[in-house]
Amino acid sequence: MKAFKSLRQDKTLRLGKSLTSGKALLVGALAGSIALSASLAIAKTPANILVIANRIDDITTLDPAQSFEFAGSDLSRNVYGKLVNFDPADFSKGYQPDLAASWSVSGDGKTITFKMRSGVKFHSGNPVTAKDAVYSLQRAVKLNKTPAFILTQFGFNKDNADQTIKLIDDMSFSITTDKKYATSFVLNCLASNIGGIVDMKTVMANEKDGDFGNAWLKTNTAGSGAYKLVNWKPNESYTLTVNKDFYAGKPALDRVIVRHIQESATQRLLLEKGDIDIARNLNPQDITGITGNKDLAVDSDLRGRLMYISFNQKDPNLSKPKVIEALKYLIDYKGMQDSFLKGQYTIHQAFLPRTYLGEIDDKPYSYNVDKAKALLKEAGVDGLELKIIVREAQERVEIAQSLQNTFGKAGVKVTLQVGTGKQTLSVYRAREHQIYVGAWGPDYPDPNTNAGTFAFNPDNSDAAKATGLLAWRNGWALPEMSKATKAAVQEPDKAKRAAMYQAIQREHQKRGPFAVMFQKIEQTGRRANVKGVNVGAAITAISYWPITK
């Protein structure tokens, strides 16, 4: 720590003239706080330290087996190595070897054998071995915390974890799934946060009452990634320091400090003054405000979140294909994108976010009132009255208002019902809505995360209560497509699998009672000298190690 003292800039502060007379007091009353004047050389961040402003109040735990929030994923990605990982230099390559150097798949497609990379060390100095990998995966399954479903969907559970995730020798181990799955599916899931490999020795030393070190890992880390944690102060900041022994080469910056700055305006001020290098939550106004500033730059990146509306198929009118099609033509995609969603969302009409395996960029629908009117006429529907339920979030309400307006142009009368997240969601889960304005974020970086909910619904009965599936929530029976989605999950060939998802999405666009409208864009403000910032697109989180300044 003492080393940082030398970095301090020479600031001389002196107390202003002391205020003595009553008259001076009056002047001083308002300006009292200005009694301090400082001959400040502008406070710039030190050259070897990256300072980021972000909202980090969603971090509740640092344990990779439990963490499931955005800010937590940022930290986790840079602290923990995984068996396979996404290369920030090129996401289109898909998962790449990380702590696993190679792998092979058994003939029946159920067992994957991993060979570990040799010579990699944890931050503690312990070598990374197959034992650590086995322990990490088993503990994630046995702990069964929120993100555990990403692993347990392959049939692992706390009773069979010891048999299905098996050590072979110090440097190799195997996992055996309950059915045949596409290797790309399994590996994509292992590339998500929960696949973080923890240092078994360190974690076991901090175990309490058989909790697999869960309590300790909430506030500490035991990884092998590019950076290691110095401290985390909830709602305040976290500090990472470089892992000099990082196997892929020592990162350029010695320290990363992420400060919790709630307000966009405050982030902008700090960025303009050079007190931070990157501002991650600038709102569109502040983005516009810093555009044109030579010292600053703005990056736009696609993220995973989608905005869609869906039509309940239990409704006699909304289940008519022509009506579904007509309503998709009554959405002013471009108008919304260019006005209140500007810089935050871009038009996207398929259920896989771009940058995902199997993505498509087809945009068959645009705002066309005449076409919609004709389709409604063909469907024999006249004077349609619909209710849209929407959660009380600004952008969603604005979307709903735009829909109310454009639907009205074709004689569809819309009433809006605005409610809290809990209220709208419970109506949606009970299939009691007509039209729902929804947002969907993928849970893990494999296409099945969205296909398995938008295009999969094996049992549409009320009794099935498959409330987790969006297709079920909208009462959409899709036996053919469900079969195709299931088949895609098992297709071993990556290219063929991508093609299957593309076909499913095109069909889904045409027939599905979903109108996917937009994909999230994240705008990041940075000092112009900061290079190599990649926030992770739709599939992963920010990587600090390629960043230079």
Binding site: F4, A29, S33, T219
Partner: protein
């Protein structure tokens, strides 16, 4: 206190008999206890009827039913409400507020971290408020309807009516962004963070204890703007109240008598009139101080000040009831303590309150 300088000679400390002291102490303790239990009960009930699902905020929306049920049990939500409350009460008596959902740490630990930040800010704020507000009020009363009085009124009026959010941002924009006279949001510049050991949690005090003047001055340059902002609001209130108290005293006959006796104007105003204003002023100041100690959510948000106001608000928004209840207890305690303290000061300053 800064006020006592002028008046120390005019006051004599009175001693109370011991038995009366015990009786008084018991009464105080009893009041505190009843108040605190009432406070806890109300907060607890509000917390439980809020339309937020605390389990969902732990496990997230896509958790399986089994994970959900496990978390539900873990939080003790399967027990009857009264049992939950009694359990909570028992824990609070042992200083255990449970674990915060958001920070994954004991709430007591969080409070030890966030409260000093607020305490530091509020204390600097109230000191500036008193030092500037009291003389301003006195001068305004003495020179009633003069230009000084009008200016003081305008200053106070602006203080009352400007939204803190706006004035804070403008302050940052001008004093930090444009002029660079003060440092930006946060308690310290990043290269000063974690240098001095934490003793009180108040960086100004800790840096003095560690004799690290660089850290001290950096902390000063960070605190001065948000504290000045809080000071402005309490100043507006304190100066208006001082003025009206003073006006009331200056019209009394004993003031005329004092003047007739040929006392200096200074002695008339400060010793005689102000001497009688001190007592009601204590209440005003104590209340302003308590208000600041609650933590000003907006100020804390704009200045990224990790204090108790934003801690409770964040907790409230995420259904983190342990954090909210813990924070409420602390704020409640602060109010009660300040009340007791101002009562004690009354006894000290007011010859009638025996």
């Amino acid at each position: 206190m800064a006020l006592s300088d002028d008046t120390a000679d005019g006051e004599r400390q009175r001693k109370l008999p011991f038995s009366a002291f015990l009786k008084g102490a018991w009464q105080v303790l009893w009041t505190v206890l009843i108040t605190m239990i009432g406070l806890l009960a109300v907060t607890f009930i509000i917390g439980r009827v809020m339309p937020i699902d605390p389990v969902l905020s732990v496990v997230g929306e896509s958790a399986s039913q089994a994970t959900y049920d496990a978390a539900y049990k873990e939080l003790g939500l399967d027990k009857p409400l009264i049992t939950q409350f009694l359990l909570f009460l028992g824990n609070v008596l042992q200083g255990n507020f449970g674990e915060s959902l958001l920070t994954a740490r004991p709430v007591s630990q969080d409070l030890i971290r966030v409260f000093p930040a607020t305490l530091e800010l509020a204390t600097v704020g109230i000191i500036i408020g008193i030092v500037l507000g009291v003389p301003l009020g006195v001068v305004a009363a003495v020179k009633q309807n003069s230009w000084i009085d009008h200016i003081a009124r305008v200053i106070a009026l602006i203080g009352y009516s400007m939204p803190v959010f706006w004035i804070g941002l403008i302050g940052l924009l001008v004093l930090y962004g444009q002029l660079g006279w003060v440092s930006g949001p946060g308690r310290l510049d990043i290269f000063y963070v974690d240098i001095v050991p934490t003793v009180t949690g108040m960086i100004l005090v800790d840096s003095l204890l560690a004799r690290d003047m660089d850290v001290f001055w950096n902390a000063v340059s960070h605190i001065i703007l948000p504290a000045g902002l809080l000071a402005y609001y309490s100043l507006a209130y304190i100066s208006r109240m001082t003025r009206s108290f003073m006006l009331e005293q200056l019209e009394q006959e004993y003031i005329t008598t004092a003047r007739v006796k040929g006392l200096s104007e200074r002695a008339v105003i400060w010793r005689h009139a102000f001497g009688n204003v001190k007592v009601p002023l204590i209440t005003v100041i104590a209340l302003s101080y308590a208000g600041l100690l609650e933590g000003s959510v907006l100020t804390e948000t704009i200045f990224s000040w990790p204090g108790i106001g934003s801690y409770i608000t964040t907790g409230l928004l995420s259904a983190d009831m342990n954090a909210v209840l813990g924070g409420t207890v602390v704020v409640g305690l602060v109010f009660v303590c300040l009340n007791i303290f101002s009562d004690l000061l009354y006894k000290f300053f007011d010859p009638r309150a025996k």
